[in-house]
């Protein structure tokens, strides 16, 4: 027989509870009563049913403590422990939800809180999506409408992108591993600019794979930005919180990820018009500039017209003057001509006079120039005759 101390027993009790697999991770539903809050903010209450009760404590800041109220039917999660100083068995509650939430909901809330605390959902770590993706990686089931919806939207909006499908199971126990592998494959391949993790609508159970912790961490660790498009618009999974962007549906994801060719074409057309307008106005400016220079040039030049007219006037004056000069000369020439005519020896000759030339052709003007017996020429108007001088008489 061994006598243990009280402390030894209570320690044993506490340690037994804490090492018990069930008691250290327990879901309990029941009704709340005797709710009171201490000054420190912790909540103390009992959780009871028809025949039994558990003494509970919920420390300040735990998920759902606002649900606590007397008479409320709740689902809880926590662990059983033995509080040695008072010798009481306590249910330490870390999560409370209204009854009917179900184990999955509680599980969801638990993981959500935990990962949020770790920072997996932080806005600051969410990466921007590429504006013009070249390759889109799609993690989804190859059967089903999801892939088809995505490719239809992408083909319509932005056909120059390539799609790389990384197939996976999207529900069931094997799904989480599959999804993790699929995301990893795309990261290893490296060509994708963005990844879409997509699944059609379903119940909480059917979407459950996307609430898996491994899947969440795989999305968080993806080097390539991830867009989640899981279930319907009202479905939110842990994957949605971790992703760089959540889309309400797979089609919506496709619309968010790629630009619309219609808008792009309109923009291109606008740029084209802009360029044309700029060039037109450039050419217009140049033309106007040339006009101005032309105007300046014209003004800087002397007035040719004036010169022309001056020349015309001058030449007319010249003409008049010359004409006058010419007339004068003509008059003089005429009178000279007449004088010449009278002085013309031929006319004298014609009157009967002759010119006497000696044998050397010199004209004999005087009686003294004549030698007897010499040969002389008598020049008539119409010819000459050679004569010999006979007698000289005075």
């Amino acid at each position: 027989m061994v006598f243990y101390t009280v402390n030894q027993v209570t320690t044993y009790l506490r340690e037994s509870f804490e090492s018990d697999i069930l008691l250290s991770d327990l879901y309990v539903s029941g009704e709340i009563s005797n709710l009171r809050r201490s000054a420190s903010g912790h909540a103390y209450f009992t959780l009871k049913d028809d025949s039994a009760l558990l003494n509970c404590v919920m420390f300040r800041g735990q998920q759902g403590s606002d649900v606590l109220e007397d008479g409320a039917a709740v689902s809880t999660h926590g662990r059983i422990s033995f509080y040695e100083p008072r010798g009481s068995t306590d249910f330490i509650v870390d999560l409370v939800m209204p009854e009917g939430a179900g184990a999955l909901s509680l599980e969801f809330e638990k993981l959500r809180t935990q990962l949020e605390l770790e920072g997996l959902f932080d806005e600051s770590r969410k990466r921007p999506l590429p504006e013009f993706p070249k390759v889109i990686g799609v993690v989804t089931s190859v059967s089903g409408a999801v892939l088809h919806d995505i490719t239809t939207v992408v083909t319509r909006r932005y056909p120059l992108v390539d799609i790389l499908v990384s197939p996976t199971l999207v529900q069931g126990d094997a799904a989480p591993e599959n999804i993790v592998q699929a995301i990893n494959d795309l990261n290893v391949d490296g060509r994708s600019d963005v990844i879409v993790v997509a699944r059609g609508g379903g119940s909480l159970e059917e979407l459950w794979a996307f609430n898996d912790e491994k899947v969440a961490r795989s999305i968080y660790g993806s080097k390539i930005p991830v867009v989640s498009a899981i279930g319907h618009e009202t479905d939110f999974t842990i994957s949605d919180f971790v992703a760089d962007l959540r889309a309400p549906t797979p089609s919506a994801a496709a619309e968010i990820i790629v630009p619309d060719v219609i808008n792009l074409k309109r923009h291109l057309y606008g740029l084209e018009s802009q360029m044309n307008n700029i060039m037109d106005s450039n050419l217009e400016s140049i033309r106007a500039g040339i006009e101005i220079i032309n105007g300046d040039l014209i003004r800087a030049l002397p007035d040719i017209e004036l010169f022309r007219r001056s020349i015309d006037d001058l030449s007319r004056e010249h003409d008049t003057f010359f004409q006058y000069m010419i007339n004068m000369l003509n008059v003089r020439v005429d009178s000279a001509d007449k004088q010449l005519a009278t002085l013309n020896p031929t006319a004298t000759l014609k009157r009967g006079f002759t010119v006497v030339e000696d044998q050397y052709g010199s004209v004999v003007r005087s009686f003294n120039g004549v030698r007897e017996g010499e040969i002389y020429s008598l020049v008539f108007a119409d010819g000459l005759s050679q004569v010999q001088s006979a007698d000289k008489k005075l």
Binding site: E131, F132, K134, G137, V142, T151, V154, T155, P159, L160, V161, D162, I163, L164, V165, S166, P167, D185, L186, D189, V261, L264, K265, L268, L271, E272, Q274, M275, I278, M279, N282, I286
Partner: protein
């Protein structure tokens, strides 16, 4: 801004991906808007701009997207 040497505009515009061509086009238009270019240079830029526009439109006129299954690729290699 594209300076007069047009270094950033490659000779083979048709080899550019959409994003690059589209961004380059934006810069060309900005440069033209800013003005101050000699006529010869602005005409050159304008021509390049038109070629970029055509290339972008050509890319957008693609009709079908290419879809590949990554698993099949792995199996092939």
């Amino acid at each position: 801004m594209i300076d007069k040497s047009f270094d950033e505009i490659p000779d083979d515009i048709t080899a550019l991906a959409f994003e690059e061509a589209f961004k380059l086009l934006g810069e060309v238009v900005s440069s033209l808007e800013e003005g101050g270019l000699a006529l010869k240079d602005s005409v050159e830029l304008y021509k390049k701009g038109m070629m970029l526009t055509k290339h972008c439109n050509d890319l957008l006129n693609k009709v079908q997207i290419d879809i590949t299954n990554i698993k099949e690729q792995f199996e092939e290699s």
